[in-house]
Structures are given as structure tokens and as C-alpha cells.
Assembly symmetry: C2
């Protein structure tokens, strides 16, 4: 059985994801699809709209066969670390290929670019440093440096978010000497960051979330952009748990954490550097909500995303010391769900996996999963007390979601 | 001008307090009364019912002339430390006498007992250690040891809460070589811990708070036990700030702090010892409210009060390292309010105070007040967002309350 891997957040699963998944299976001639999916907190430093269990169910009902959680140390990270973790999981679970969406759509361009960057690494690092000194953010500095270096080489445009991610997937495959074959599918229509609906059936997850959170918003306005199963599950979550998760639900706790901490304590938190701790505390004292807080803290150098990631690490109390040494490869495979076909694949191949496969958290006592546990505990605070506790218990007792398909 | 000192919480100010205050001024032949009053969090490890500003106003309107805040490192503490701080403030502000309520009512018994305990210190310490080994709490061990030692000496009953406090006041006066003369007034009727109304006009603060928080409770049920000014100010607080402060308002934040901390981090918190951190985390994960949590954590050795104090220190993130060396004497006089007569006294005498007198927090930048600042920040989380922020701003901008009397 040939498995194609995809790296996803499904926040929530929509028609664009379904299209990509179909294309991935066809392009890679795969018998099944394995998704590495972020858990509670996402790459942009945001809580997932609904729990990983609901997002797993959406995925399984719409074409994915196995869902593995991308552990916290990789999920809320810059593209390079995110890619390291995700690729290591797909490799450990025996995927034959990896398929990702990109603005470019040409896999050869990715490979050429990775090789070129390896060759010119020193020169590029030098340029990045110089650009950072002008006060721009890291992603911007990388993009500028790369442009100036590669303008005549017909390489990848590294100012597009999905190109950047894809570049890091291909780079991670090379670094980890994986035998996985990468493919890319040109993204259809919607830009990653689009806040508005772009076409009749495909819209970005950003625009879908925006509609879900809009004051006048109701579920029906997104129905044309998501499979029926997603729509049903979103309604079920809202009815069952009372609300979707967004930063504002966590604001009081973030603020509380900031105002009772000293700058010295905050500096122990992963990614807190350069005196940003003082800005964070001062802004927390004066802000009524998360948005207001973020606007007070934001600078040219600190992108919104970078700040949100910092805030997630503060919320989960994740220390620099806890993260060091965990950022190259994943150390376990946490199974969130599977279809009948996925189960068959796992039964046939799991003896050869080089990482432990965890089906139920309460049966796995290793320390390396503690960051995921903490993230789940904190994530549960985005709901009311009763519902938060239900979600928290689920984290420990839930068996992998099974879908007969 | 002769000033008599009283050591108070006024949570809230009631008729018993008014009686004591009157008796104090008369017994000590004083021209005015100075109250050292706990700020945000109290000796039993509870948030004060209403802000220190409202409690200051109640005090000034009912006979107190100067209110000084007892700093956080002394306020949420066992009797000995509490007394050290309070007595050092009364001494620094030039009080001539100290008057406290007690079950005993005989000041000579207090002095005799303090002297006797000094003489038999080693023997007593030995007995306390032995009693603690049987698993009882420290106050209980002290009381038992003392009884066995002193049964023939006609000394103080140290199993009464106000006798214990008074004993420590007299002991602190002796230790600090203060020239303050102690008096005691026999307490009328209501026991400190009484949960029920005892007489027609005097009731314990505990029973008054109980009535205020009762589901069917309304202000009128307490009116016969408090001065009109207290009653009016309580109503005003409730209307202005939306609610009184109680532990349940802070429960989510305490729980959040507990579930995102490691046992190792919690062990850095003042008073967290002997593995209680593990019990606290485990109970937090499974509890829906503060009461349920406390019942899960409580043991024979850990009294409810001791546990609540630990919880306050966790909430305010007060480390062992921050408290060491601050527990013998206060280092500043934070003026919360004064009457005309109080102002006159301060103007006449302040040049001789051996501690800085702080009228407005924003004008005082010393580090030693940082624990009070943190406590105020945390205390503000007991109100809704808007009102909490108003209270927090007040902490920095408020001038001492002035009452023309």
C-alpha cells in the first residue's frame, strides 16, 4: 500500500483541502493519504477553531486515512522547524511521497532552489544579517536576501507563504535523507491570507474563520466553501462546546500571566528575547482585549505571527530549556484517527515504524509528550468551565477517531 | 497628640469594630487612632471583600484617623509575621499605644505569657516538633505544647484566635524594643469565626460576609450589624464594580496557573513545600470550583487557612526568594487615608518617622513595594474586565482618601 503524506492544519477542512487531497492521491498514485495535523495551537500562533478531534473527523470524512498530530514543539513555529517535525513524522510512518500545495506548482523549481541555497548558504546568511539590521522581520529579510542573490537563476519566489513552506519541506527531506518523493500541486484561487471569499466554492480558511466569527455570521454563509461534513461538525461543536476557540477567549489568562510575572521570568519563555517582555507586560496592563494588546506590542521587526507565537508559548508556559533539543525530529507518532483503510495500513506496517505509535495518551508516560499535554490543558481554557473540563478529560481518554470508509 | 494604634482588616467594618475603636481611644486616652490595615489579600488567605480604598473610607467615617496599608509580605501570613509587620508600622508612625481585642481581656496575662515563653523557648520548640510529628497542623501543635507546658501557671489560653494574635503583638513589641504600650479590650459577644449572627448589633465579619454572599442575601440583612456608612459603601461598591471579591472569582486564574506550571516551578512559590505542589496540580485538573478544589487538597496537616495562603501566593506568583529578608519589619508606610485630625498629626510628626511615608504609588519607585503592586494587579482580576482595569488604574493614581472629620 502506497501512502502519500500531506501536512495540514484543517482549520477548518474546506473544499480547497478536498481538492488538494484528491490531487495528491492521484499525482502520487497513492492508495491512502496520511495527514500530519497541528493539534491545539497553529503555526500562526493561534488556537485552532475547534478541537483536534473534530478536525480529525472532518479530515477522515473527506478523504484522509490516517491523522497524526504534529507535536507542539513543531506546530507553533517558523516554517523551518514546522517542516522538520512534519517531514520526520511522514518519514517515520513510511510514506512513499509528500504532496503540498504551492503558488509555484513546479517541484523541480523547489529542488533546484534548495540545492542553490545550500551552495550559497554563507553568502545568504550574510545578506540576511545585513537586512535584519535595517529593522525588517526575519521572513522579509530572507525574502529580500534571496531575491538579490537569485534574480538571474529562475528560482522559486520566496515571498509566497506556500512556496516558503514547500521549500522547507523539500529542504527537510534532503537534510533528513528521507526517501520520500515530493510533489507539488498548484494552489487554486484562494491565497493563504485571503480574508474575502475568492470564488464560488474555494475560499481560504482565513476567510472562512472570519465569516464564522463575524458578529452577524452564521454557519450558512460558509456552506458553499466546505464539505457538508465540515459544516455539520462545526455546528455540532458550537452546540456541544458553546463556542469556537479564538485568541480573545484566552486573553484574560494571557493577561493574568503577564501581569503577575517579572520580566526575568518571561525571558525564560521560548522566543521571548530582546526586551519584548517589557513591552508585553506594559501593553497587558493597559489593554482590554487581545487585539488592542497586539496592536500596542506590534513593531516593524515583530510580525503579528511572531508575536502570536510568543503569546502561545507564554500561555502554555513553554520554556527555552524545554524546547532545546526537541526541534529537529519528532520522537513519537500520536494517532488521532484513521479510516478502515488507514487501520489496515497501520496493522501491516507499524512493526517497521522507527517511532512509537501512541493510540491513547493515558497509556504513554514518556516525558517528551508533556508539551502537548500542557497545550491541551491550556487549550481547554478557551471554553466555559464545564465544557473545558470535558475537552480536557477527552485528551487523556479518547481513543483514535475511527471512520468506516 | 497621642495616637493609639489598632491592627485591622475591616472586612468589612462593623459595629464590633466601632466598639473596639471607641474603647481603644478611651482606654489609651488617645487623641486619634491609627489603623494598620491589610490591603488586597487577608490573613486567612482570602481576597478582601471590597478594595482597600472602600475599606479605608469605612474606617475613616467610623472613627479611625489614619489608615496605613499592611504590606503584602505581612498581611497574608501566620500570626507571628503578621504581627511583626503591623507592630513595626505602628512604631514607625509614632504610636503611643496599641490596643487589640482578645478573648482574655487581661494585658498582664499577655505580658506574663510572652516572658514565660521566652524563658521556656527551647522546651516549647521541642514539644511542638514532637506534636507536629503526630500529623497535626502548626497552630494546633503550638496550642497543645503550650497547654502541656503551662497548665499550672495561669497563663493565656492560646487556642483562641484573638489571644494568639495579641500574644504575637506583645511579643513583637518586646522583640522590636518598641516603647508602645499595649492594651487589650475584651471582645464582645461574637467569636472571630462565628458564621451566624450572635447578638442584635454585634456580629463577626465572617457572618456578615456570609450574609452578603448568600444566594438570597441582600444588603438589608446586615444593616443592624454595621454602621450606615459601611452599608452605603458596600452598596456603592456592588453597583460601581459589579461584585464583591471572593475566591471563586479568582478560581479560573488559580487553576490556569496550576495547570500550566510544573511541580518544580510551584516549589519556588512561598510556602509551597513537602510535595503539596503535586496535590495542588492534581486537584486543579479535576475541580470545577475553588471550594471543590480546597476540599480535595485539604489534609489534617494543612489547615484551610494555610492552603488558602499558599493559593494566594501562587496567584500573586510570590517566590520564596522574594519573601526572604522582608519578614521582620516593614520598610515603608503606605498612607491609604486620613481625617483632618490625622492629617494634622502627620504634618506635625512625619519628619520624625523612620520610614518613608508614601502618599501616591506613582511617586514611589522603590523595589520593596513591588509585592503590593503585584497583589493589586492580581486583585483586580476579581472584577470584570472594565471594572478590574478601573481598580488597577486607581492603585497607581489614587491620592489618600481624605475625610473632613
Amino acid at each position: 500500500m502506497k501512502a502519500v503524506g500531506v501536512i495540514v492544519e484543517y482549520n477548518p477542512f474546506h473544499n480547497g483541502h478536498a481538492y488538494h487531497l484528491q490531487a495528491a492521491k492521484e499525482t502520487a498514485h497513492a492508495d491512502l493519504a496520511v495527514a500530519v495535523m497541528s493539534g491545539n495551537f497553529l503555526q500562526r500562533g493561534e488556537p485552532a477553531l475547534v478541537s483536534k478531534w473534530y478536525r480529525t473527523k472532518m479530515a477522515l470524512l473527506s478523504g484522509v486515512d490516517i491523522v497524526i498530530e504534529l507535536p507542539y514543539p513543531f506546530a507553533t513555529q517558523k516554517a523551518e522547524t514546522f517542516a522538520n517535525g512534519a517531514v520526520s513524522i511522514l518519514d517515520a510512518i513510511g510514506c512513499h511521497s509528500l504532496c503540498f500545495g504551492s503558488e509555484s506548482g513546479e517541484i523541480s523549481t523547489f529542488q533546484k532552489t534548495v540545492d542553490y541555497m545550500d551552495l550559497h548558504k554563507d553568502c545568504l546568511d550574510e545578506k540576511i544579517k545585513m537586512n535584519i539590521k535595517t529593522g525588517v522581520s526575519f521572513p522579509k529579510a530572507l525574502s529580500l536576501s534571496f531575491q538579490s542573490l537569485s534574480s538571474t537563476e529562475n528560482l522559486l519566489s520566496l515571498d509566497k507563504p506556500n512556496n516558503i513552506l514547500g521549500f522547507h519541506y523539500v529542504k527537510a527531506l534532503k537534510k533528513q535523507k528521507s526517501s520520500i518523493v515530493p510533489f507539488t500541486v498548484k494552489r487554486k484561487n484562494a491565497d493563504y491570507h485571503d480574508e474575502h471569499f475568492a470564488t464560488e466554492t474555494i475560499a481560504s480558511a482565513t476567510s472562512i474563520r472570519k465569516a464564522l466569527f463575524a458578529p452577524t455570521g452564521n454557519n450558512s454563509s460558509i456552506e458553499q466553501y466546505v464539505p457538508d461534513t465540515t459544516s455539520t461538525l462545526l455546528k455540532e461543536y458550537l452546540n456541544g462546546y458553546g463556542n469556537f476557540h479564538e485568541w480573545e477567549n484566552y486573553w484574560s489568562f494571557l493577561r493574568f500571566r503577564l501581569i503577575h510575572s517579572t520580566p526575568l521570568e518571561l525571558r525564560e519563555i521560548y522566543e521571548v528575547e530582546e526586551g519584548i517582555e517589557n513591552r508585553l507586560i506594559a501593553a497587558a496592563l493597559e489593554s482590554f482585549n487581545f487585539k488592542e494588546f497586539m496592536e500596542k506590542v506590534k513593531t516593524k521587526r515583530y510580525t503579528w505571527t511572531r508575536l502570536q507565537r510568543i503569546c502561545v508559548h507564554i500561555l502554555t508556559n513553554t520554556k527555552k530549556a524545554e524546547m532545546s533539543g526537541t526541534l529537529e525530529k519528532a520522537s513519537y507518532l500520536r494517532l488521532l484517527g484513521m479510516t478502515r483503510r488507514g487501520k489496515e495500513y497501520l496493522n501491516k506496517n507499524k512493526s517497521q515504524f522507527n517511532l512509537p505509535l501512541i493510540s491513547k495518551l493515558s497509556a504513554y508516560k514518556e516525558n517528551d509528550i508533556s508539551l502537548d499535554v500542557k497545550a491541551s490543558r491550556v487549550y481547554s481554557f478557551g471554553l466555559g468551565k464545564q465544557n473545558g473540563n470535558i475537552l480536557l478529560q477527552q485528551e487523556f481518554k479518547q481513543h483514535p477517531i475511527y471512520v468506516e470508509r
